[in-house]
């Protein structure tokens, strides 16, 4: 435990080397936000001729160590113990802090998931260093090997670059869904080590008495999203949203008021208190566009707004605006899309064999429709 003590500047700053990433896992598999830190971590490490060290904890770590190495870690250390099966703050924080003392990493990255932030806050204090939360850009300045941690602030309008020059490790949590998952290479070369962890009984006092898995709708990696807002007027309005979504292979999103009213599950919520999305196409139906909603979707590549209010705030960030009642627009839009799709199918079936993939792809897309 830290005790009431200040952030201390280590005198041996040059001894701190390499980039360490904490690969959060569940049920023996590294979770996506962990994998997302590997390519950005590796490119920073390699830029200054250092290693990317992956750390993973679990009941058994054999397959996870392999996974971490094949995804691009230069060295992987796994700690295993039945006590590490589930994330618990104290055993995880203690093991990771001890590893920091042992390996002296220059940089430590942790996913900005809820457990990741739970852990990162404590590690920073115990290591008497700083941590930058929820970064969307990470780079290293080779001069002094300084981490340039950038995070959106002020309602996602500004990007702040935050440095931690004289404390080590330089820590950051990385926002899920931003950094790409690297390609997995079966022939990757890496050092690996599985260690048995001994967890003190006093750290295991916090019990997890129940865990109810949630079926999640991962909107963060969706390519198409059709979202409904209060303009739907009623819960059944989401059927219309679903219909359009089915037609283009999209996921269904929602504004917060519709979730608060119980019209749709919280896992569909887009915005500051929901998921941050950046699909290729975001179709906002009956969404006025409160700042909190815009924060979660304004990075979408193309935004289409369907709204009766010509002054709806969302229109100011829309590429296309259909200023009409969504109950009138959506059936017509669905019809127009069906028509266009059948034109495509006609064209491709009329043409020769080389055109065939177009049609096959259409069918494949249909099968890939997201579960709702």
């Amino acid at each position: 435990m830290a005790g009431l003590i200040n952030a201390e500047k280590p005198s041996n700053i040059d001894d701190y080397k390499n980039v360490m990433v904490f690969l959060e896992a569940r049920d023996g598999k590294i979770k996506k936000p962990g994998l997302e830190m590997i390519s950005v971590g590796a490119s920073m490490a390699h830029k200054v001729n250092e290693m990317l060290i992956g750390i993973t904890f679990g009941e058994s770590v054999g397959s996870m160590v392999k996974e971490a190495g094949e995804y691009g870690c230069d060295r992987v250390i796994g700690y295993e113990s039945p006590d590490l099966k589930d994330f618990r703050t104290l055993p995880y924080a203690t093991l990771l802090s001890d590893l920091i003392l042992e390996l002296k990493p220059n940089i430590l990255l942790i996913p900005a998931t809820r457990n990741g932030r739970d852990l990162a806050s404590r590690i920073a204090v115990r290591s008497r260093t700083g941590v930058t939360a929820d970064c969307t850009e990470l780079d290293i300045d080779p001069n002094g090997r300084i981490l340039q941690a950038r995070r959106p602030t002020y309602g996602e309008s500004t990007l702040a670059e935050i440095l931690c020059k004289s404390h080590r490790p330089q820590m950051a949590t990385a926002r899920p869904g931003i950094f790409p998952v690297p390609e997995r290479k079966k022939d990757a070369k890496y050092e690996s080590e599985a260690r048995k962890a001994k967890i003190k009984k006093e750290f295991m006092k916090k019990e997890i008495v129940d865990f109810k898995p949630k079926t999640t709708v991962d909107l963060t990696s969706a390519k198409y999203i059709v979202s409904g807002g209060l303009g739907l007027g009623k819960a059944s309005g989401f059927k219309l949203i679903q219909e359009l979504a089915d037609e283009i292979g999209a996921y269904v999103g929602a504004s917060r008021p519709t979730v608060d009213l119980g019209w749709i599950g919280k896992d569909h919520q887009v915005g500051q208190t929901g998921q941050s999305v950046r699909p290729k196409v975001y179709i906002a139906c009956g969404i006025s566009g409160k700042a909190q909603h815009l924060m979660g979707m304004k990075l979408s590549e193309n935004i289409i707004s369907i709204n009766t209010d010509p002054d709806a705030e969302i229109n100011s960030i829309s590429d296309y605006i259909i200023n009409a009642d969504l109950y009138e627009v959506l059936p017509k839009l669905v019809e127009a899309i069906r028509k266009k799709k059948s034109e495509f199918e006609m064209q491709s079936s009329n043409k020769k064999a080389e055109e065939k993939p177009v049609k096959e792809n259409i069918e494949e897309k249909k099968e890939k429709k997201p579960p709702q």
Partner: protein, 266 residues
Amino acid sequence: MGLEIIVMIKQVPDSSEVVIDPVTFTLNRGAARNVINPADENAIEQALLIKDKNPGTNITVITMGPPFAETALLDCMSRGVDRAILVTDRAFAGADTYPTGLTLAATITKIGKFDIIYAGEESTDSSTGHVGPGVAEFLGIEQASYTSNSWAEDGYVFAERQLEDGVETIKMEPPCLITVLTNANMPREATLRKKIDAMKKGIETWTLANIDLQPDWVGLKGSPTVVKSMRTINEKKREGKKFNVDEMDKFVDELVEKGILTFGVD
């Protein structure tokens, strides 16, 4: 049996009144009213719910902030909080999450015995979520973050954590720290009677001298991180091209032409 509860809050500019400058995309805080950070209101309510069920419970609310943060503390007392301490000192200015946590933890150490510390999941103006768990680390106690509900039973503290992939129920021994999600509950309104009591009772004001920390451990000097630069996130210029409800065929043609809708060919 009554519990000793401490709630940590922060006063922030009201995000619903904050105006984003359309040219620079920066936040115009000047116009906004100061309010209790939304998640902290839920933390206060969670503490009051425990007090409702466990008579004899004492709630102390603390904040590190400028003198005008007093209004946020009086607001908490008007809802039923028993004691309020404002920790304020010029030396605290410019603190990042490390010295903020340290200052609050030192304050709590001076307050003395407690069973549960509550805090909001994060503040709307800096959104790190680091201060709560940081305080737990300084004090060496257990924590449960991102909770939607918590309660005291048979000498234990239970909390439901909302994770990305499920809901976890935690059982801990006090003393412990719990961070509460925004919208975890419906914060109660202040009552006139409690408001009058609060005004009579007033708040306590502490400074650096009250909490035994060295001046260079707090504020900007005690902060390991610095903000090097800020830049506006360059947003895509959006045309806002309009289509009528009767032009859906034309609209879909354009979307296909521009490669926005591809029907699975890409």
